[in-house]
Structures are given as C-alpha cells and as structure tokens.
C-alpha cells in the first residue's frame, strides 16, 4: 500500500499538432496530439494497444472518453476523431493546432491481438466508432505485424460519402494486395463506385468465412445490433466476435463505479468484449 507518487487522475499535458474536419458537415473532427514531456510519451507508447481509449481533459469543461485512432508506428502522436454531440465535444471542436489539452490514458483493455495471431481478421465498422478499428487496421498493416495475421477484410459504412472518415488513406487500401476493403454508404450517390446499403447487408453480401477467423464490430448501437446476428448466421462463434462498448465514464480506471454492468467495469475490463462475454452479462445495457 505504498504511494508510488503517481496520480492516475492527473491529466497528461499535451498539445494539438493537427486538427482537421473529417466530414463535409463538420460533425467529425480529427485531432492529433503530441506530448509536452518525452517521459509521458514513452510511458504511453509502452502501454498502448489498439482498441484502448483516453479521457480527454479540458479544465473548466471536464473529461470525456474517446477511442484512439492511430497506431503506434505512425509516430509519436495520438489521434482522436470527435463527433460533435453535446457541450464537451462542441468545445473540443473549437480547438486548433497549437492549443493545449489534457489526456489520461491509454485506458481499457484493447483488442486481444495476441490471441488473434495466425487468424483471419474481419473488421466491421460504422460511424465515428470506426476510429479504433482504423487504428487496428493500421497496426496490422505494419510490416512487423502483418505476418502475424492471415487475411484482413475491412467493411466500413457511413451514412453518406461526405461522412466517410480517413478517406484519402482508405482509398489507398484498394491498391493493397494484403487486404480487402469494402466501403458502403446508405443511399446511392453520383461518383460513388463502392457498396450501397446498410452495414449488416454488406456483411451478408461479402460473407466473410468464419474459418480460422475473428470478427470485430464497432459502430452505432443499431448497426452493431443487426450485424451481430449476421455474423452468427455466417457461422462465427460468440467467442470469435468482438465489439467495443460505450458507457458513461468518469474515472476510466475502475474506481468511480459509473460504467458498471454486472460484475464488469467497462472502462477497465473492457471496452472490448467478445459476444460470449456480453451474453454472460446481465441485461443492464
């Protein structure tokens, strides 16, 4: 019970180096943050796994959780994509390159990448929850990690082409020989040459094989709800389907009780859970 001097409630001082709108309606904005102190940077990257999140902290406004949208190899920065929702996210949207910001993290468990080694990975995302899946895809892309996994299939849906995130980068994925990318929008648009339709239907069409595969689904609750049964029908076992839960959070470190579902704390035991684990939780979601 000794005091190691570290206070996990203290925000790490950071600065925004890049800030840009991700969508044409300006509802999504991406921020890339760098550390004010190298030791915080080293500490962060020695702990970070894709699928984890951070609490962004602004004095006078409070804190809110956001998924990490960058892979470690991309550089010594941390990327977040923030959807404008209420007071906190509205304020974050006013920030620009050069502005200071606080951060606590990385928090949560992240994707079980060790367990997935040697498997095909099917990544299915929609809306701004695609952020951590983008980080996951980037992670797997790296030449050091790519041999650890077999096939990589990404299915990503947005309501309109204007809401598609990380566009320029994702367009280059079509040229890659080591993955499949399927993008979809809800209704047809001129100049859109990819899928049209809802994510669960696109998953049905693409019909990824459950053989030696894991699937990970992150998106708006409604998308997740209709995609999970599609995967089950395709033959994916509940142990091989993963998703990330969003709950209200405060401390992010399993102390404040806020994110409790059954005997789990989503911030600490999650946010990533297998469908098998979710099925074992009480209906308190």
């Amino acid at each position: 019970m000794s005091d190691n001097g570290h206070n996990p409630y203290n925000p790490i001082p950071m600065h925004i180096v890049r800030a840009y709108y991700e969508s044409n309606d300006r509802s999504l904005k991406t921020f890339e943050l760098v550390f004010d102190h190298q030791k915080d940077c080293d500490q962060f990257f020695s702990n970070y796994d894709p699928g984890q999140f951070c609490q962004l902290s602004i004095f006078g406004k409070g804190e809110a959780p956001f998924g990490i949208a960058s892979a470690a190899w991309e550089g010594e920065f941390v990327r977040f994509t923030v959807q404008k929702m209420g007071s906190f996210t509205k304020y974050i949207h006013t920030l620009q390159a050069g502005d200071p910001i606080g951060m606590r993290g990385p928090l949560g468990n992240g994707f079980p990448l060790e367990d997935w080694k040697g498997k095909n990975i099917v990544i299915i995302g929609g809306g701004c929850a695609f952020s951590t899946l983008y980080a996951l895809t980037k992670h797997v892309h790296h030449s050091k990690h790519r041999p650890d996994y077999e096939e990589l299939i990404v299915i990503y849906g947005a309501r309109t082409s204007g809401l598609c995130m990380y566009k320029h980068d994702i367009e280059t994925w079509y040229q890659r020989s080591d993955m499949e990318i399927h993008q979809a929008i809800d209704v047809p648009e001129e100049d859109w040459s990819h899928h049209v339709g809802y994510v669960p239907d696109v998953v049905k069409d693409v019909a990824p094989s459950p053989q030696n595969a894991v699937a990970v689904v992150c998106g708006p609750p409604i998308m997740t709800k209709y995609t999970l049964p599609v995967l089950v029908n395709l033959g994916f076992a509940p142990e091989d389907i993963f998703t990330s839960l969003e709950k209200r959070m405060k401390c992010g470190i399993g102390k404040c009780g806020r994110c409790n579902i059954g005997s789990k704390y989503i911030c600490k035991d999650g946010p990533v859970f297998s469908l098998a684990e979710l099925n074992a939780l009480p209906a308190d979601i």
Binding site: H6, G60, K255, C256, R258, N260, S263
Partner: protein
C-alpha cells in the same frame, strides 16, 4: 497481547496521542454522533448512539474532495493531495473497519492505485470498539462479519465496567499500546463472555446461502419493482453506506477546481446517457443495481458480500425500507416464480 485502558483516563490518553497524531473519535452532534477531530472540549459518544450516522469512509473518501486546482488561461494545474500526517481513528465499529478493507480492493489495486485513498489508509491507525450490545438494526453476523470482527483493525477494544480491554491486532496496534498495563486473566475471561454473548444475541436476518443465485435468477423479474415500490430514490441508503464508493468528477468553474463528489446509483441522472437512453430508467432498475452490486457482483469479484450489516440504510431510510426484508422476500419470490413457471 491484551492491554487495558482505564475509562477515566480516556480523555487524557487521547490528549496525549493528540500531540503526535491527529486523533479522530465519535462525538455528539445534535441527536447523532460523528467522527470529528478530538480536542480538549470534545464530548465523546462512543456508545450512545451506538454508531455514527455519517460513515467513517468519509475520512478516506471525503464526500467532496479537490483533486487539482487549475489555471485555465495558462493550462496548468497543481495537484491537490491533502493527506493526514499520522492519524488514529478511535472507536470505529468493526463493520465500518471491514468496509474499508472491502474498499481497498477497489481503490488499491495493482493496476491503478488511488493515491488519495492509499495515502490515508497508510497513515491511519484504526482502534476499533467491538459491539457488546448490537442494536436490532445491525446484522453483521448474517453477512459473514461480526460484532468483534478484526478485519481492517489495528486493535479492538471490548468495553467492561470501568476499563476497555484492548487486543492489539497488528504491529501498528501493538506499538500504540505496548506501554499500557496488561489485562488480567479476569479481564480476559470477561471479554470472552461478552464477545460470545454479543454474537449469540444476533439473529440470522435472512438466508445468504444461495442468495446470489436467487438474485441473479430474479434479474429480469418483477421482484425489483415490488421491493422498490415506496422508494423515493433519495440516495440516503447509498451515501451513508460504508461500502458504497461511487463518485463523480466535476470541474467547479467558479473555484477553478476539479473535484470528486460522492455519487449514487439511486439517481436517474447517474446512468443517463447522452443519446437519451438510460439503462436504469426507473427506481426498480436502480434498486436492482444497489442490491445486485452488494449481494452478487461483490461475490464475483472477491467472494465476499459487499455489505457489512451496519444497518445504516435500515435506520435512516425516510420511508422505512429495510434491506433485510427485501432480501427475505427474494427467496419467497423465487419460489413463486418457480411454482408459476
């Protein structure tokens, strides 16, 4: 080793300790008692009333606590961590001390140590007062504790006519009392008798065998709306509970402070999400969360019930809801569910 503290020397002893420690002891406040710093003019209330209304968890997790002070313009902050130097909590009841050991499993984990909690725990000596005559609202023996339970204590006192007999339970406790007179055989025999009488005088308030399974089974039943029907959702039962630990973190804009405050799952807003969705929309789901946490989820975590039977929620609920009665109903309710189904 057992020692004695002669009652008429109590104030003097506490004064002596005050020179070296911050001494905190239950004192009379209106109709209640409360843990307050001991001073020359303190009016101790060790036994009358039996226990404090406000739980001593507040000495480790204050109801409101500043975590940092910020300067928004400069984007700088100073961490605030006000910890006692050396402190004695004198006269804490065993239920409240064991509650602290339950909360240690939340606040002092390997992964993340809460430095506020851990610092205060480390610097505090807990001198407990066992309960010779537990009031009728207490039910510690039902939930696996007892009126002379040792968990969390550095020493435990048993009250005799004119002395407290003290049993040191840790090195810290041993050190504090080592120059006190030793208890006689006669003292020790009285202690055994009192402790065993106290324990035997307490009835089993409800059946705990299989209770977790029963509650888990009832998760989606009407049991919760039935037991919660008259609940006002005031949160008193959780604020005063020594094992409840939920807190909120907010920025106090006027004071430029980031503060944590006790929070409660009994409030609607607690689980209200930005989308408008609320997984616990009514008092039934919130009552379910309160009881399930204590009587099911704690068992999943550490195989112990997360209620130490202190009876505060029973004593202070404004509409007289009694957790013991609620839990007794559970097994009846389940047999109904089973019979019908």
């Amino acid at each position: 080793m057992m020692y004695i503290l002669v009652k008429k020397n109590l104030d003097q002893k506490l004064s002596e300790w005050s020179a070296k420690y911050e001494v905190v002891a239950p004192q009379k406040v209106e109709a209640y008692s409360q843990f307050l710093p001991f001073t020359e003019s303190s009016e101790l209330a060790l036994n009358e009333p039996h226990n404090t209304r406000y739980p001593p968890k507040s000495l480790f997790l204050p109801q409101s606590e500043v975590m940092l002070k910020y300067n928004k313009r400069l984007n700088k902050f100073d961490e605030i961590r006000i910890l006692p130097e050396k402190r004695i909590i004198f006269g804490i009841r065993p239920c409240d001390a064991s509650a602290l050991t339950l909360l240690d499993t939340v606040f002092d984990t390997e992964e993340y140590q809460d430095p506020y909690w851990a610092g205060r725990r480390e610097n505090t000596i807990l001198v407990g007062l066992g309960c010779s005559e537990p009031p009728s609202t207490c039910f510690c023996t039902t939930v696996g504790y007892g009126p002379f339970n040792h968990d969390g204590l550095d020493a435990i006192m048993t009250e005799l006519d004119d002395v407290f007999v003290i049993e040191a339970l840790s090195a810290k406790g041993e050190k504090l009392f080592s120059d006190f007179p030793a208890a006689t055989n006669e003292h020790e025999l009285s202690v055994l008798r009192i402790q065993s009488n106290a324990k035997q005088g307490m009835n089993q308030a409800f059946e705990t065998e299989g209770l977790k399974q029963t509650l888990d089974h009832l998760f989606e039943s009407d049991y919760w709306s039935e037991i919660a029907e008259s609940c006002l959702g005031c949160g008193v039962c959780t604020y005063l509970c020594p094992t409840c630990f939920c807190f909120d973190i907010v920025d106090e804009v006027q004071r430029n402070e980031r503060v944590r405050n006790w929070d409660t799952c009994m409030f609607r807003i607690y689980s209200q999400e930005a989308s408008g969705h609320n997984p616990r929309p009514t008092i039934s789901e919130r009552t379910r969360q309160r009881l399930m946490h204590k009587y099911s989820y704690w068992l999943d975590h550490i195989e112990k019930i997360g209620c130490t039977g202190c009876g505060r929620c029973v004593r202070y609920c404004p509409v007289g809801l009694d957790i013991r009665a609620m839990l007794r109903t559970a097994s009846n309710f389940e047999s109904e569910v089973v019979n019908v189904g």
